[in-house]
C-alpha cells in the first residue's frame, strides 16, 4: 500500500511538473526575449507582462502543486527513490510534451541528450 502511495505521489509530481514546465515555457515565448525587452523598455514592463500572462499564472500553480506533491511523496517514500524517479521521469515527460504541445523539434540529438540526462540523474541521486 505504501509503495502504491509513493508511486502515486511520483506520478502526481511528474504530471504537475510537466504541465507547469510546458505552460511556463509557452508563457515566456509569448512574453518574448526578456533580455531584449528589458533593454528596450526597462524591467517593470517585462515583469508586468510576465505576471499578467495567464499561462504563466497557471504554470506557477502547477509548479506549486508539484512542490507540495513532492513534500507528500517524501513523507511516504524514501528520498533516494522519490527525488530521482520524479526528476528522471519529468525529463522524459517534458521532452514528449514539448514536442506535442510546444512544437519543439526534438530531434535525435535531443532524444539522446534527454535519455542520457534522465539515466544520469537517476544514477546520481540513487
Amino acid at each position: 500500500m505504501r509503495t502504491l502511495y509513493t508511486w502515486g505521489a511520483i506520478l502526481a509530481i511528474v504530471l504537475a511538473s510537466v504541465v507547469g514546465d510546458i505552460l511556463l515555457s509557452r508563457a515566456m515565448k509569448e512574453v518574448g526575449d526578456v533580455g531584449k525587452l528589458w533593454k528596450r523598455s526597462g524591467l517593470i514592463p517585462v515583469v508586468k507582462s510576465t505576471l499578467g500572462n495567464p499561462n504563466f499564472l497557471l504554470g506557477l500553480i502547477a509548479t506549486a502543486m508539484a512542490f507540495f506533491s513532492m513534500l507528500f511523496g517524501l513523507s511516504w517514500g524514501d528520498v533516494s527513490l522519490v527525488a530521482p524517479a520524479a526528476a528522471s521521469l519529468t525529463f522524459i515527460g517534458n521532452a514528449v510534451a514539448a514536442r506535442i504541445f510546444l512544437h519543439e523539434k526534438v530531434d535525435q540529438r535531443r532524444w539522446i541528450a534527454v535519455s542520457l540526462v534522465a539515466v544520469g540523474v537517476a544514477l546520481l541521486a540513487g
Binding site: D33, G35, V117
Partner: protein, 158 residues
C-alpha cells in the same frame, strides 16, 4: 548564443544547486513538517538556511524564466541538471566525501547529455510575436540596463 545567455544558463545551474542544498540542510535542522503541525512550517521558514535557500530558488526561477524566453524547454532542461553534477563535485572536492563509481557514471552521462544539446540550436520553434510592446528604438538608449554595455551583437566579437 551570446556570453549573456551562457551567464543566464550558468545562473540556472548555480541557483538550483545552491538553493536545493541550503533548503535540505535547513530542513534537516528543523525536522519533518506535517499538515497537523502547521506552526512547524513557520519555524522552518525562520531557519536562516531555509530562508537563504528560498531566496536562491527565487533566483533560480527568475533565471529559468529568462532562459525559457529565448530557448526551447528541451534546451534549458539539461542545463538545470548540471546542478546535480555541481553538487557531486562539491561533495567530492570541497567536502571530501566519497563519490561512488555509479555516481561518477551519472556525472559522465549528464555531462555528455548536456554537451549533445549545447551543440545544437537553442530555439527550434517559430517565435511568437512579442505582446504589443513594440516601441520605436529611437531615444531609448538612455534607459538601457547597466549590463547592456557588455552585450555585443552576434558575430561582432572583437
Amino acid at each position: 548564443m551570446t556570453f549573456d545567455k551562457y551567464l543566464v544558463l550558468g545562473g540556472v545551474t548555480v541557483f538550483a544547486a545552491s538553493g536545493d542544498s541550503m533548503l535540505s540542510h535547513g530542513m534537516q535542522e528543523t525536522g519533518g513538517i506535517s499538515l497537523r503541525h502547521l506552526t512547524l512550517v513557520i519555524a522552518a521558514l525562520l531557519n536562516p538556511w531555509v530562508a537563504i535557500g528560498i531566496l536562491l530558488l527565487l533566483g533560480f526561477f527568475a533565471t529559468y524564466m529568462i532562459a525559457l524566453s529565448w530557448a526551447d524547454l528541451t534546451y534549458v532542461m539539461p542545463a538545470t541538471s548540471m546542478g546535480y553534477v555541481l553538487l557531486a563535485l562539491i561533495a567530492r572536492f570541497v567536502l571530501h566525501e566519497h563519490v561512488s563509481a555509479l555516481r561518477w557514471l551519472g556525472i559522465a552521462l549528464i555531462t555528455g547529455g548536456v554537451g549533445f544539446v549545447a551543440g545544437g540550436p537553442e530555439l527550434t520553434t517559430h517565435r511568437a510575436a512579442p505582446i504589443k510592446s513594440e516601441q520605436p528604438p529611437s531615444g531609448s538608449d538612455s534607459q538601457e540596463a547597466p549590463g547592456a554595455a557588455n552585450a555585443t551583437p552576434r558575430g561582432v566579437k572583437p
